[in-house]
């Protein structure tokens, strides 16, 4: 326990959320205010380690006096704001956004998507059998991770993580426009020909499973991926002296993927290729296993 506050206390802003009054530090978002009230707002493009891009619009809330709905993940709380998080207008937009997404993108590996679809009564099939989908083949062009953009909701998180917010490698960006927009390297070059350094920090933030370890992708293809049989253990990467935390996901005594805790004050979930993918040597087991 620290005795002396390191920073001067921030001013508090008072707002009303669904009739309840809440005070949050200046600069907080509506989403922060909702969290402090224990309200569960759906989010997809929001990332706890990234600047909000507010692209998915599933988190929209109604702010009294505003012409349009506001994204809770990025709109700052202002004194006296009156916010509704579950009004008919809000529920309608969330429902339609989920329908639009689920009718165009494969959400099967997006955590909570199915739960929200049920909660908001979304019916993705209503657009009929001819509704255009992305229908993109998965890009399997290296041994470490797979880019299955048929599952991509274009949340921009991988681009931000690869670019100036974390990795500063800028291997990927959004290319094209509108419904045809996609995440791409220059001229859609295969990853091994691109600037990618395989830090996997894009996989860490991807909210849909569009980016996944090759191990996970292969096991899902084979039907052997089973999170209920997996354990997680967080340890320290042994490669260098930085001391990054790595969380090993283990199924049947084999490491199947590696993540990193987002609340680590130094690395915020980011790793390099060694911590992320350099785990093979610890499981070079005797021949009978192989």
């Amino acid at each position: 326990m620290r005795g002396v506050p390191v920073e001067p206390p921030r001013r508090l802003v008072e707002i009303t959320v669904d009739g309840e009054t809440v005070r949050v530090p200046e600069g907080s978002t509506i989403l922060d205010a909702c969290a402090s009230l224990g309200k569960d707002i759906p989010t997809l493009c929001y990332g706890d380690t990234l600047t909000p891009k507010n692209a998915c619009r599933v988190c929209v809330v109604e702010v009294e006096g505003a012409r349009t709905l506001a994204p809770a993940c990025s709109r700052k709380a202002e004194p006296g704001m009156v916010v509704g998080t579950d009004t008919e207008r809000v529920r309608h937009s969330r429902k339609v956004v989920l329908e639009l997404l689920a009718s165009s993108v494969d959400l099967s590996t997006t955590p909570r998507a199915q739960e929200w679809i049920e909660e908001y009564g979304a019916d993705p099939d209503r657009f009929g059998p001819d509704a255009e989908r992305l229908d993109r083949p998965a890009k399997v062009d290296n041994d470490l991770y797979v880019r299955d953009y048929d599952k991509c909701i274009l949340c921009y998180k991988c681009v931000d993580a690869c670019g100036e917010q974390w990795q500063n490698t800028f291997a990927i960006a959004v290319a094209g426009r509108g419904f045809d927009a996609t995440i791409s390297t220059e001229f859609d070059a295969p990853l091994p020909d691109s600037a990618c350094v395989y830090c996997g920090n894009c996989i860490e933030v991807c909210p849909t499973g569009a980016l996944s370890f090759k191990t996970e992708y292969d096991m899902r293809q084979e039907g052997t991926w089973d999170e209920s049989r997996q354990t997680q253990v967080t340890t320290i990467c042994s490669y260098c002296g930085v001391g990054c935390n790595v969380t090993l996901h283990v199924q049947d005594n084999r490491i199947v993927k590696v993540t990193s805790p987002h609340d680590n004050p130094v690395t915020h979930g980011n790793l390099c290729i060694k911590g992320r993918f350099g785990f093979q040597h610890v499981q070079n087991l005797p021949a009978k296993e192989a």
Binding site: A55, F179, S194
Partner: protein
Amino acid sequence: MDIRFRDVEPTAEERAAVDAILGPAPSAWEGGERSERDLRVAVGGHAARERRHLLLPALHAVNDRVGWISEGALDYICRRLTIPPAEAYGVATFYSLFSTKPRPQAVLHVCTDIACQAKGADKVRAAVEERLGPPGLSWHPSPCLGLCERAPAALTLRAGETPSYTVYGPADPKTVAEAAEVDEPPAEKAVPQAGQDGLILLRRVGVVDPASLDDYRAYGGYAALRRAFELGPAGVIREVLDSGLVGRGGAAFPTGRKWQATASQPDRPKYLVCNADESEPGTFKDRVLMEGDPYALIEAMTIAGYAIGASRGYLYIRGEYPRALRRLEHAIATARARGFLGERILGHDFSFDIEIRRGAGAYICGEETAIFNSIEGRRGEPRSKPPFPVEKGLFGKPTVVNNVETLVNVPVILTMGAEAYKAIGTGGSTGPKLFCVSGTVRRPGVYELPFGATLRELIELAGGVPEGRTLRAVLLGGAAGAFVRGDELDIPLTFEGTRAAGATLGSGVVLVLDDSVELPGILVRIAEFFREESCGQCVPCRVGTVRQHEALNRLRANGRSPDGDIALLREVGRAMRDASICGLGQTAWNAIESAIDRLGVFNATQGVADGRENS
């Protein structure tokens, strides 16, 4: 940042095109010859990154010279400007005038948008397709080219050492694909009132030589700038506030308030951006102003820069306006040479210059924050607001964005005085207004009327619909606007009058449709427009515009309303309006909603309904 390039060499031609914009490469690091010195210098850092805004001009340079942008060319541009190739590729693929695949040097753009569709664009398209095969390389269907008074229109852009263009309007289905030289009529051909007494905004169009600064001055030019120097910056803002001028770009925001808010920001420098992206289907007034009276815009921008304390203005003009671009380039160079731009203008302690930025085929870049990203060399995606441009705009600095027509009103206000200006029009909508009349009228063109004239007066001025036809509907405000019925022509053409009627003036579009026009086809085209022009950033618009287009295609094919699709359109439309990031998604359903509710298109009993009976 440690950028990796993929050693693909540019051709000599590509290198020359880029060097013509950026100068020769100073070192091997930027793709030039390797020298001893290269091993001992560091490049990059802030200075290099600050050149990012040259990306769009560099892409244009290659596209203009070769016709498309190869890997080698993109790589070379990235080395020169310290830009990650993946990002530059994302920018190049955002704009429809650029190609990252090989294609012929000449590309024909056939307008298939609403005004042209009302005048037989389908026939032109079919003829071109028959001759040139499926679209994609040598020709493309195009959104509105801003030539609606000459509908159906088409435009050939030809790459080469000296890029050239040919405008076809009205395009003859039989000859349009043959790239014969066609003389483009003078700008004033688009102004049926040209030369008449009483015009204010259009008074010089067709009267002065648009290339001549002396002509401009002989007809009152630069009197307003002198007046501005007398008034001082605060005095100019006061006049503009008092005049009641509101923006003519579509959002109708009070211009004086915008200027005042920017001028009072402590942050510096401040910027002025003139929005000449003019891509709202059916809009062509800014083109006529820029082609017919280019110095007026230069003077207006200078006054605006003086008032808000900016020393640099960007004129962002859409890529499909080659003639307006040339005239403005000439006017800026002349004004600079004669001391009307540059250091210490007319001997006053005020310096101001204008840089032209050319768009490359993206309606969304007319949105006031997307235009900043486009100028800065990023994808033209709107930013989320707040912060607003007056606080953080271009390059993160306080910025005023104004439409061409809005700005051109400013010299008028200063020369006639705010009081006299305010006496024109109505209490809520002051001054003269330009209307872009197109579709099935006898004399389409840009018309100037004081605010408050009725829709009927305007359409009569334009000669009404052809003999034997009845006026079925008028689209006010463009694709983002609303339809009104043929029996609602008494609507006063003011901001408040159209609002009260549940419509909008928008950018001044008055697209007239008689009973020869197949309305569902127009609606499908509007939906297609939004689908193709969505930047793709947010889900409601990126996918919603696709679902809207699909549903309208179904309704058009069925000819009447399976209730499911109308309900679906309403639900998707409501979410687009409520939850989209920017005005494109928020308005993508407006016109279609009004056609369903007001005109009764898709009314179950009638198929294509005549709205009168269903209102």
